[in-house]
Amino acid sequence: MISITSEPIDLCQILVAAKDGSSGGTTLFVGSVRDHNEKERIFQIYYEAYKEMAEQNFAEIENEARRRWNIKRFVAVHRTGSLKVGDISVAVAVSAEHRKEAFEACKYGVDAIKMRAPIWKKEVSDSGGGWVEGFPLDSD
């Protein structure tokens, strides 16, 4: 299950989608809006995505994870729109026969999404906020 959604992320749904009878473990990473950055208080974050490309990108990341680790299911969901402090922005869940693969593939998925998926965030802060300076993309 892979998606970019403007709806709140349902963690139970994510875990159900990730569980597999042949797996011995499932890892779940949940990213949420933090109330501060390095400099100031944050009240809200607006997320914007190039939905079609981001979903294609998530599928590529899943394929990469499957080539590296023996995993059963890979679930990645990212939210868009205006989120308040504490709201869930991203969830990645991976099931595998053993926990090592599940942990490593889940970390790989989260890191890859943060560095490569066409998603942008704009903070609303004490001083007004702005677009977060992110990771430049390249064609490799």
């Binding site: 990213g31 991203v90 999404i113 998926a117 066409p118 998603i119 965030k121």
Partner: protein, 88 residues
């Protein structure tokens, strides 16, 4: 007899994040000349929208893939400007 005006195909470019906000629209339309590449398109964007060049670095995606400079652009392609990403 009226002289036929040469018409150029156009291409719509999607904008996201800071590029959308700087230009003030979620898309721009550019005239395409023959055998245009992603690099030509980048130069055209920087020339017509210098405010983008001053503020952000970006890559061009063609048909939902990041294009290298030599990638050719067709009027039917889906093109987008992608500023540095910050999901998560």
């Amino acid at each position: 007899m009226a002289r036929e005006e040469q018409t150029y195909p156009t291409i719509m470019v999607k904008l996201f994040g800071s590029s959308r906000e700087i230009i003030g629209n979620d898309k721009i339309t550019l005239k395409l000349s023959e055998k245009m590449t992603a690099l030509d398109l980048r130069r055209m964007i920087l020339e017509q929208y210098p405010q983008v060049a001053r503020k952000i670095q970006f890559v061009i995606a063609i048909n939902r893939k990041i294009a290298d400079d030599a990638t050719t652009v067709d009027p039917m392609d889906e093109v987008a400007i992608l500023p540095p990403v910050s999901g998560g």
